[in-house]
Structures are given as structure tokens and as C-alpha cells.
């Protein structure tokens, strides 16, 4: 699917773009209740006004959304789309690698995420290592270059992983075929995973100290050689200094407690526990540490450590004071996170607003971007999703998606473009077939056999 042309036109000069007024919609603000019939004024990419009545500037483009529902753009706290590689699985600490280096703005999953109402995603490194690579928060600005998709100002993250995945790659069965002589990768147990994390942060502290010593020497006017920059340890120092968020893949209650204790001991915070399927067992401890939890609604039993899960997980953790979000971890599930949120009303009795919070303001808070996105409030980014029905109904469809006040998905436009793309494709196929049929101008002359 090509980027929407109208969006491109807006993009050319966003500041000069005319204001937009979305009228007559049911507005689910998430943080300020629901406006049954209201309007939103968008100016310069921001929400300028929200209410039953708003100013309609003379030059405004008016979008009639009668009978439709506007909610904040959905935020996915755990995604692996839009990147050319996900796992640097060869080592147990791969913090030197970065998703930002391999962003792929041509990934069709971005457009499909838009079609599911998602406007922001936390793109994570995989879970092959105890300490994984650096992560990036993206807005789904389909059609833009990689760096224009990065959520400007969002704090960068890093992936940790506990349990089966990081220890599995150390199991001889995890080796490439025929590599009998390859020594297995450490660790092979949960104890080993803890040790890898402790070892890495011990090294990071020494590294941090070496730079402090160097800087002190220089400030005293002494001759000194700067320490070697170590791209593996630099992000861990940032974690220690609170400049990088830790997103930790985990399942079992025991390993969750282990990680929180290791973090407390070394003096850093776990920002979110990802998957955290047994989080309901240790919700109090999670809340005490201040970690958020980003889980699935009802996806489990795909491996041993995912057996003790329950669909009430999100609701129980919410009631125990944990900041909870629902994520996709999948390009497919990403397209219906609204359905996932709705399930928490059946399992655990969350309110409509609480359910919507799990995919909007809560993940925004977890990623520390709630000053910009996650709810419909004046002053926030105009990242909005318009559904034809209530988004918590699984009969609802996404009609339009705005990011920074620009239209990035329009269902009608998409449907109209499909035959155009089909024609274009057929033309290219025919052209290629024709070329293959014709002897090429430079065809090799062969002597008769």
C-alpha cells in the first residue's frame, strides 16, 4: 500500500496545513470521560480544543464523524515490526546493538498497524539474551524515512529477558546444525540468567567509574588517556543513571522477584515487565518497585513457562495498583488491540475507560510519553483513531487514523486505491513477461552445437 497522497500533501508543510475539525463524534478521551456528541479542533498537529462545541476556523477542513467514535491513537508497548533484524542472539549481553540502526520504514506491517488504529509502538529487540539490544519508540508515520518515524524526545529503552528464551540459546540443541564443536552459550539456567545480569552491571559500574576517574584527572590538569568507549556497557551506564528504560521479558513469579531485587541492589529501575503472565501472583511487589506491567489478554500455554497464566492477569494487577498495558508482540495481534482491551471487561470486570487505558494512556505512561499522547486533551499530539462503532465492540472497524494531525490511514481511500494498485501490478507483470518473450538485444550468439 502506498502512503496516502493527501497525507503527503499535508506533510509538505505541516505548519501551513489548515486546521481540522472532527465533528459530531462520540469522543472517548480516556482521561476526561466521554463526550457523547462532540468535536475536536486540530491545529499545527496538536489538539487545540475538545468539547461539545469548539471554534471552527474559517479555513478549517471539517470532517463529519456522525455516529462514529474517536479515541486516542492506540499505543503498543511491545512490537517487533519495522526493523530489518530483531535478535542479536549470539551473545548473552547484546546491548551494543540497536533497533534504531535497522529500522525499516517500508515494512507493510506499519501500514497494517495503522489500519488497526495503532499510532505509536515500542519496537523492541528480541528476547534471546539476558540483556538484549536498545529499543526505539516509533510513530507509525507510514511513508516517512526511518528517522522521521522516531517518537522525538521519547526516552530510549533496552530489552532484558528472563527464563526459557535467554537460557535456551545456551542449550546445545539451540546450536546450528553440525556445530558439535561449538561450546554452548552461557547461561543454561535461570540462575545463570541472574548471574549474567549481575556480571554485566558490575562491569558497567567499573566502566562508569573509569570515566569518572578520567574526567577527574583531566579536571585536575593531569595527563590521561581516555578509556576505550564500550558500546556494550554504555547503555547499561545509562540504565544506572536513569536515562534508559528497562523493558524486561518475563513469565514466572520467581524470576520477576529476582529481577526486581537485582535492580534494587544495583540501584536502577525496571520500567516495564513484558508478558509478565504470572504478574498477578506478585502484583504487590511489582507495584512497590514501581514497575509497569505489559501483558497479553488471553494468550498463553505456548511454552512451559506460559502455562500458569490467567485472563484475569491485567485486571488483578490493575486492582493491586500496578500500571498495566496490553501489548501485541505480533504484527497480527497489533491490528486488533482494541479487541484485546475489551476482553478485560469480561475477565476481571474493568470499566470501559480502564479497558481503553490499557492500550492508550497506560502504555504512554510506561514509555513516559503521556505528556504527548495517550488521551484526547487540548495540547496533546493529534494522534487520533476514528472507529465506525465503539472500539470495544469487535464489530468495529477503523475509519481514519491521524498522527500529528495528518491523515495516515483512510479506509475509503484504501478501498479506492486497491484497483489502482492491481492495475499497476498487472502492467508490470505484463511488461516483464513481454521482455522475457523477446530475444534480448544483447543475446549471446552461440555457435551451432
Amino acid at each position: 500500500m502506498k502512503p496516502i497522497l493527501v497525507a503527503g500533501a499535508f506533510a509538505a508543510s505541516m505548519l501551513a496545513a489548515p486546521p481540522i475539525v472532527i465533528q459530531n463524534a462520540t469522543i472517548l478521551t480516556v482521561t476526561r470521560g466521554t463526550i457523547n456528541t462532540g468535536s475536536i479542533l486540530i491545529r499545527d498537529g496538536k489538539i487545540a480544543e475538545v468539547g461539545e462545541k469548539v471554534n471552527v476556523p474559517a479555513d478549517a477542513k471539517v470532517v463529519d464523524a456522525s455516529g462514529q467514535f474517536v479515541m486516542p491513537g492506540i499505543i503498543d508497548c511491545h512490537s517487533h515490526i519495522a526493523a530489518d533484524s530483531i535478535n542479536e542472539g549470539s551473545v548473552s549481553v547484546s546491548s551494543m546493538v540497536s533497533i534504531e540502526d535497522v529500522l525499516n520504514p517500508d515494512d507493510i506491517a506499519i501500514y497494517r498497524a495503522l489500519a488497526g488504529g495503532v499510532t505509536t509502538a515500542n519496537v523492541l529487540h528480541g528476547s534471546a539474551n539476558a540483556i538484549g539490544g536498545k529499543c526505539t519508540v516509533l510513530k507509525m508515520r507510514w511513508g516517512k524515512d526511518a528517522h522521521d518515524m522516531i517518537f522525538e524526545g521519547a526516552m530510549p529503552g533496552i530489552k532484558f529477558a528472563l527464563g526459557e528464551n535467554p537460557k535456551r540459546a545456551g542449550n546445545p540443541a539451540g546450536q546450528r546444525i553440525g556445530a558439535a564443536n561449538v561450546p554452548p552459550r552461557y547461561p543454561a539456567t535461570r540462575m545463570g540468567v541472574e548471574d549474567v545480569i549481575r556480571q554485566a552491571f558490575t562491569e558497567a559500574k567499573a566502566y562508569q567509574q573509569s570515566w569518572k576517574d578520567y574526567n577527574e584527572k583531566i579536571s585536575r590538569g593531569e595527563q590521561a588517556m581516555a578509556p576505550r568507549r564500550d558500546l556494550k556497557l554504555e547503555p547499561l551506564v545509562e540504565v544506572l543513571e536513569g536515562k534508559r528504560l528497562v523493558h524486561a521479558h518475563c513469565y514466572r513469579a520467581d524470576e520477576i522477584l529476582m529481577l526486581l531485587r537485582v535492580a534494587d541492589e544495583f540501584g536502577f529501575k525496571i520500567r516495564t515487565l513484558q508478558h509478565v503472565l504470572e504478574g498477578y501472583k506478585v502484583a504487590k511487589e511489582i507495584a512497590e518497585h514501581g514497575a509497569g506491567a505489559s501483558t497479553f489478554s488471553d494468550w498463553w500455554a505456548y511454552k512451559l513457562e506460559a502455562y500458569d497464566a490467567i485472563p484475569y492477569n491485567a485486571a488483578i494487577m490493575t486492582r493491586k495498583g500496578v500500571l498495566v498495558s496490553l501489548n501485541s508482540d505480533s504484527a497480527e495481534l497489533m491490528r486488533h488491540l482494541n479487541d484485546e482491551a475489551a476482553k478485560t471487561m469480561k475477565y476481571g470486570g474493568l470499566s470501559e475507560t480502564e479497558a481503553l487505558s490499557l492500550i492508550t494512556i497506560n502504555p504512554a505512561k510506561q514509555l513516559m510519553i503521556d505528556n504527548r499522547v495517550g488521551s484526547i486533551e487540548a495540547g496533546k499530539d493529534a494522534d487520533l483513531t476514528i472507529f465506525d462503532k465503539h472500539p470495544l465492540s469487535n464489530f468495529s472497524k477503523v475509519e481514519k487514523v491521524y498522527i500529528d494531525g495528518q491523515l495516515y490511514f483512510d479506509r475509503d481511500h484504501d478501498l479506492a486505491e486497491r484497483p489502482v494498485h492491481d492495475t499497476e501490478k498487472q502492467k508490470l507483470l505484463d511488461k516483464e513477461k513481454e521482455q522475457q518473450r523477446r530475444p534480448a538485444p544483447g543475446a549471446v550468439r552461440r555457435p551451432a552445437a
Binding site: 542472539g89 549470539s90 540497536s98 540502526d101 524515512d145 546450536q175 576505550r228 494498485h421 501490478k425 508490470l428
Partner: protein, 462 residues
Amino acid sequence: MKRFSILPLIAGCALFAGAPTTIAIHNARVIPVSGPAIPRGNVILRNGLIEAVGADVALPADAWVIEGDGLTVYPGLIDALSTFGIPEAAPAVPTGGGRGGVPAQPAQPTQATPAVPVNPPARGPEDRPYTTSWMRAADLIRPADRQIESARAEGFTTAVTYPPRGIFAGQGAIIDLAGEKAGDMVVAENAGQFVTFTTSPGFGGGFPNSLMGVIAYVRQVYLDAEHYRLAKQFYNAHARGTPRPDYDRALEGMLDSPRVLLPARRRIDVDRLLRLADELHLKALLYGLPEGYRSADLLKKANAAVLVSLRWPDKARDSDPDEIDTLNVLELRDQAPSTPAILAKNGVKFALYSGGIDRRADLIRAIQRALAAGLSEDEALRAMTLSPAEIYGVADRLGSIEKGKIANLIVTKGDLFQERAEIKYVFVDGIKFEPVEEPLPPGARPDTPTGPTADGPRGAQQ
């Protein structure tokens, strides 16, 4: 393995010994590339250099005269990225040995194969995986390589040739495509460091096993090289009382390389590699560029030169006929040959390279596709002569027919880029070669070359 349906064999005229040292091409059409065409002029070659060129240049009394009626003289073509003359390279080694690393290869291969691999999987950048940055193509050249002959028959007189394997594969050399000894052939021994994005297989094969691992490795190595340079400088200034820095041949190789060649297929590759080069202050030369037609704005903004492979992406011969490619893939195949025209229109400096196409007919066909997509013949010729010379900083000796430059020329009957044109003579360092067609060897089957990738030289790992 290469096979030729027609092997245009180059028969030297009495080859090196006894070849005339002064040659005059008389009354030919001359295309100097650096200036306007000379409809009827003389080119004088002496001692391997161009002594004079022009309409009114007198023929020296001692010159061997070639009558140029009906002939056209062009500068010899330069293949801007190749593996000509490089012995079939050993597979890249997972650990190159760095600080505390192990040697890449045993110095003396023993009879008994060791039970365990010599190189354990790399555990991180410190083990210098897939790195032979210290290797110099100039030290590896084999003048007897048959690729050199076939390249000459295509009209190439010069090639930039690289060790092909590994993340940091080694340093390229600019060579003239004739000579008895490697030393005769080398024009410049340090063309740049050749990089491919090689990854280890699976999770058990060592670092790096992903593209982002490779990029992180590249970044760490350049930071290490800079630190190494400073550490050596500091040590030399304060040797007493300072622990000496460890010698690291991988970093020595980096510091020796005046530029780095990075593989770029898609627009996103161009984007991310230009950013990386900017961040690390690298003089980067992107190669491949089948999606260059989408990338001109980025290249222009960065004022970057590129090497464009003439091996345009094609539908695989054995692809499933029922599998319909996506619109993006179809577009890439349709648009890729328009890359040179679009780069030319946008003022982006580029050179074309053969990408391992080793038959003249195939080369002409590939060039014709670029011409059909809007490239002018002059632009195409420049992209295979003067532009690569400029990109590699050797335009003072190669790339055009000008007084004082190396006497690398091709003399054709007909326009060079027409399939029917005949290459009559090839001059390398002033020595004349005549391509002759060799009959198909008995039992040989015409075949297309296998193995080379769309954007690498023959045999390079991508």
C-alpha cells in the same frame, strides 16, 4: 565456475618483450571523455603513457603507426568494484583475532585436521569477527587469473579489486589489467576497505548473527581504531610510565584505509549508512544501489558518490511461476536500470561496475537497459572511465585520453555501447592486445555465470 560460450581470448602481439614502445593511432575518431570528441585525430603512446592527443599532433618518426580510419578511440573502461586477480578467497573466518583473539588462520597448516575448530565463535566485537582488514589486494594479485583476460575483452583496462569476504574484507587495489608480475599491474595499492554485511549462522555461530550486530560491530571497530590511534600517540609521547597499547592488526588495517565501501541495496540502506558514515566521520562509498532511483535526494544531500552495479535485479530463473511478486519487488526490477539516469539528473557522482558480468554481450545489454531508461551514452561512458578515476582519486593518471595519463585505451569499430561494435585493440600501459574469439571448448555448455549477487563483486558475501 565461469564458462564462456565464446571466450574472447586476448592475443598479445609479441606480448611484452619486444613490443613497440611508441605507437601512433592515426586519423581516428577520439573520445577523450575529459573534453569534446575529436572527429579526426592522432593519439601518441610512448613508454606506457599518452604522449600527445589531438587533431594536429605530428606522428613521431619512430612510432609504430596504426591507421585509424573508421575506428574510434576511447579511454579504457574501469571496473570500479571487482575481484579480478584475487585468488578464490577462503571463507571468511568467524574470529579475526583481536585483542586477546586468536590468529585467523594457523600460520603453518598441519597435516592433521584439529578436532576442534581453530576459531571459537566470536563472543563480541573484541574478537574481531569476519575481519581481515589488514589484507591488501595488491599483495594477492595473480596476473594469470583468467578473469583478467575476459575483463579486457569486455573493454576494461583497469579494475579496482578487493578481497571479497568478511565484514571488513580488506583493502582494495587499483590495477591495470595486464602484466607479467603483480607489481607491474598495481596503479594504487590503497583504494579502500571493503565491507560486506556478513553474519554468522544461527545463534550458535558467534557474534554477529544479525544486521544490527554487524552495524554495532562496525561502529565499535571505528571507535576502537580512533582510540587505538590516540593511545599509540599518547604512548609515544609518554612511553615511560605508560603501559603500552596492544598491537591490533585489525585496527591497523582500518587506519590504513582511506575510504570504506558499504553495501546499499535499498533506500533505507542508503539512509542508514549515510547516517552511520556521518556519525563516525567515515569517507564512505556506497555500492550496489539497485534502488538508487529512490535514493537520489539522500545521496545529493550528503554529497555522496556511489558505485552502481550493472547486474540489474532480475526474476530468478528457477522462481515459482505461481508465486506473484509484490508490487515493490516488481517496481524494483522495473526501475533499477533507471538508477544511473536519475543519479545523473540529480548531479550525484556515480560509477558503474560490472558486478561480475563477464561477457561483453551481457555487459552491453546491461548498459543498454540503463540507456533505455534515460542515461546518455556520454554519461554512461564517463561513469565507466573518468568518474571512477575521480571517485578513487586517480583522475590525474587514469580515466581519460589526456597527455601524460596512463596509456589505457580501447579502439573500436563502431560505437562502444552498440552490440555490433567490435573491439579491435585494447591498450594497457601502452601495450596492444587484440581480442580474438576462441571456439567453444569441446563439451562446454553455454551458461550464465552463477553466484554473484546483485550488488557485490563476483563471490562477495552479502
